[in-house]
């Protein structure tokens, strides 16, 4: 009888352990955040995020997992030339980075 009870307890614990991740975290990917990158006085500056060149120039919006991202924006004229700066992106939130000439706002 005690063995049966022990087995039942183990079964219930195992079932809970199996269901726990599904119930608590679900299986879908975590919610990403958005990073809007703008530039003044000119648009069309090339963007790099974490050293990776983006296909779209300013002004553009990117979707990414939450975290810190290092952003640069440059155009060939030199009107826009913002050095690398970290911007935090939170899940479900939108962060805006504006490159005004040579500094970020």
């Amino acid at each position: 009888m005690s063995t049966n009870m022990a087995l039942l307890t183990i079964k219930m614990a195992a079932c809970w352990a199996l269901l726990y991740p599904t119930i608590v975290l679900f299986q879908s990917p975590g919610q990403p955040g958005r990073l809007v990158i703008k530039s003044t006085p000119e648009q069309g500056a090339a963007i790099t995020i974490n050293g990776q060149a983006m296909k779209l120039p300013t002004n553009a919006t990117f979707v990414m997992p939450p975290g810190k991202y290092s952003v640069t924006a440059k155009n060939p004229n030199g009107n826009v030339n913002c050095p690398s700066q970290d911007f935090p992106v939170s899940a479900g939130q939108q962060t805006t980075a504006t490159c005004s000439g040579t500094h970020w706002e």
């Binding site: 079964k11 195992a14 991740p21 990917p29 983006m54 553009a60 990117f62």
Partner: protein, 172 residues
């Protein structure tokens, strides 16, 4: 409690502990495979993107259907093995195949969740981390399931019959 009952209880215990461990491993794998990705925001899908998405969903459905059929075939052959009271030497292959196909069905579901998340968050890239790894896991776990099923079916259809035939001839 007889020895047989103790063995059955121990087997159940090992089964549930193993299943729990297995699920935890899959869960951790899933958590660490999403990786880093950065995608531009798009207001709506272009025609080409729509077709690409349709093709992926079609492929996903096909693998899921084949996987379900394979599970049924495994069950059918296992019942046959039990009824014919044949040896269970290749039973591990059947169990491995069932686990792989089960995993494949699960990863197919994860692909759908990844696509829903992608559309909700307004970006499009079917090769992005959360979708790519699930797509690959969906296909390759199915493929492994097919290979193991092939081993199980070959063993039952040819090897066991050959054994029986040999023993039958020796008896006569």
């Amino acid at each position: 409690m007889t020895n047989a009952m103790k063995r059955a209880a121990a087997f159940r215990l090992v089964f549930y502990l193993g299943a729990t461990l297995f699920i935890l491993i899959v869960w951790q794998y899933q958590k660490h495979m999403t990786g880093n990705w950065i995608e531009p925001l798009i207001p709506s899908l272009s025609n080409e993107q729509g077709r690409e998405l349709d093709a992926l969903l079609e492929m996903n459905r096909l693998i899921t259907t084949l996987g379900t059929g394979l599970l049924a075939a495994i069950g059918f052959l296992m019942v046959n093995v039990r009824q014919a009271k044949r040896g269970t030497e290749a039973l591990w292959a059947a169990c491995g195949s069932a686990i792989c196909v089960g995993l494949s069905l699960f990863f197919g579901y994860v692909v759908y969740l990844g696509i829903i998340s992608m559309l909700q968050n307004q970006y499009f890239d079917l090769d992005v981390g959360p979708i790519l790894w699930a797509r690959q896991a969906h296909f390759y776990s199915f493929l492994l399931g097919v290979v193991l099923f092939g081993d199980f079916a070959f063993h039952n259809l040819y090897v066991e019959e050959a054994h029986e035939h040999k023993h039958g001839t020796a008896d006569h």
